[in-house]
């Protein structure tokens, strides 16, 4: 592949993935409103389009045309940059996430992935760890007490839970023996005992790791029961109290894009990625992995929404205690057990 085709293919892939991701973000919001609505004896959006399907578009238009207020006394450069930082880092990590196997059209082969790097997982972790800047800076630059408290809570929470999140993944890495997300998925192919799929969630006690990952991921994405940075009943809206219109929408997008990233990672690392039964003609066989992958992501997102409809919110000190005193030791224990098992084998 020469450099021109490389650039063209990359641009096309990036644009496509970005489009799909942003659409998915919009429809995750719709899904959330719909699912939570049905859980709570109401309908969710119904007015705009069939089943309210055009609601995300209406929301987008609304955000675009809303008055964009910049309160006085904010630290303007960072106040404007913060939502962009948040959304950029939220979206960037999708670059290394594989969605499926290879696409083969005649002579042309390309993976369903923007780029495959052999430290894919580390890249995702690195980029998401930068996402905290958006939150922290928005909290600080807004020059509002609620925002500041929200920003502080968010950065402390994200830094703390990142450790547990990272450690929960190490077990999987030991079993897979690679940082490449594609490699990790390939390590989960096949079945053991004839029928149980060879997913990491079923292997070597990694169900514990999955639980830790799930919990830490909720905290990383600031979702209930860990949504303290924006706990609206305490901090009005936390770090984005002072934001309106498109800047607010960017934070919103960042949150949902992060949710999707986290869901993708969970599917790749624990649920066998895009593995699933393949049948039919060859074009179908190429596209089916995408379907299986999206299905897993959907299930994961559904659990997110379900939890939101069920649980109350932690208190700040309880959240910290839970992260440091329970999740982190559990993650370390899981890591050691996994390592010992692998070595003994």
């Amino acid at each position: 592949m020469n450099i021109t085709t490389f650039i063209i293919v990359s641009v096309i892939k990036t644009a496509l993935v970005l489009f799909v991701l942003l659409t998915a973000v919009a429809y995750t919001v719709w899904l959330e409103r719909k699912v939570v609505g049905h859980m709570q004896n109401r309908w969710g959006p119904t007015r705009v389009g069939p089943f309210g399907l055009l609601q995300p578009a209406a929301d987008g238009v609304k955000f675009l045309f809303k008055e964009d207020l910049t309160p006085p006394h904010v630290f303007k450069p960072l106040y404007i940059a913060a939502p962009m930082i948040a959304v950029i880092f939220a979206v960037t990590s999708i670059a290394v996430i594989p969605f499926g196997n290879w696409l083969n059209v005649g002579n042309f082969h390309t993976p369903f992935q923007i780029t495959d790097v052999n430290i894919g997982l580390l890249v995702v972790l690195g980029i998401t760890s930068l996402g905290v800047y958006g939150v922290a800076l928005s909290g600080w630059s807004s020059n509002s007490k609620y925002s500041l408290l929200g920003g502080l809570r968010a950065s402390a929470q994200m830094v703390s839970y990142e450790i547990a999140l990272g450690l929960s993944l190490v077990g999987v890495l030991i079993l897979a023996g690679t940082f490449s997300l594609r490699g990790i998925v390939e390590a989960q192919a096949g079945h053991f005992w004839g029928f149980i799929p060879n997913w990491f969630i079923f292997r070597g006690g990694q169900i514990v790791a999955f639980f830790i990952y799930l919990t830490a991921a909720y905290a990383e994405t600031n979702r209930i029961p860990f949504d303290l940075p924006e706990a609206e009943t305490e901090l009005v809206a936390g770090y984005h109290t002072e934001y309106s219109a498109m800047k607010f929408a960017m934070f919103f997008m960042a949150e949902y894009a992060n949710m999707i990233t986290v869901a993708c990672l969970a599917s790749l690392l624990f649920l066998g990625g895009w593995g699933g039964p393949l049948f039919g003609p060859s074009w179908l066989q190429q596209l089916l992995p995408l379907v299986w992958f999206v299905l897993r992501v959907f299930v994961f997102l559904f659990i997110y929404i379900w939890v939101r409809g069920t649980l109350p919110r932690f208190r700040y000190d309880q959240l910290m205690a839970f992260g440091w005193k329970f999740l982190l030791p559990l993650a370390i224990a899981n890591l050691m057990v996994t390592a010992i098992v692998v070595v003994l084998k």
Partner: protein, 173 residues
């Protein structure tokens, strides 16, 4: 070719960030400049083939250490620093010293330029290689460093602990 261009661009970004770090008057701007430096350094590592180091650079420095810096700045609500002309000794000694240092570094680099020069992207940066170095070749220094860091952490905890909590610990035994 592409790699070389990228390498040079990010090298410049890195230097510009470092200079900006010194010039900025507001601590938060300085901190963010440092983040830029870290980020572009990571890219340099990546381009050199040290992917693992690059990722760790971002995760540890940009993602954790600098976040704590920003955190502290936010908490203290540090304002703009006042501009001072600086002491004359610094001007007289500092500039020649910096120049001399740069000359020495350049000379050293040029002198050794042939030996051990690695092609871009050819450094042994794979996690397995790093592990080999850390846990076989340099195991002792690695462990000694970790003990040193542990002692430093303990010292920091003792220094940062509030007097009353130290008292309580003493009482409890």
């Amino acid at each position: 070719m592409l790699h070389l261009i990228l390498f040079s661009v990010f090298g410049l970004v890195c230097v510009a960030g470092a200079v900006n770090l010194l010039l900025q008057r507001h601590p938060i701007n300085s901190a963010l400049s440092l983040v830029v430096v870290m980020g572009s350094l990571a890219v340099e590592f990546l381009l050199l083939g040290a992917e693992f180091v690059a990722a760790i650079q971002v995760i540890v420095y940009a993602g954790a250490v600098m976040v704590l810096f920003v955190f502290v700045i936010m908490l203290l609500n540090a304002g703009v620093e006042e501009q001072t002309s600086g002491s004359r000794v610094a001007w007289l000694l500092g500039i020649p010293a910096v120049l001399a240092g740069m000359v020495i570094v350049c000379w050293a680099l040029l002198e050794r330029s042939d030996a051990g020069r690695a092609a871009i992207g050819a450094l042994p940066g794979h996690p397995a290689d790093i592990a080999q170095l850390l846990f076989h070749q340099f195991l002792l220094p690695f462990e000694v460093t970790s003990i040193l860091v542990l002692i430093a952490i303990m010292g920091a905890v003792v220094l940062a602990a509030r007097p009353e909590s130290v008292e309580r610990t003493k009482k409890e035994g």
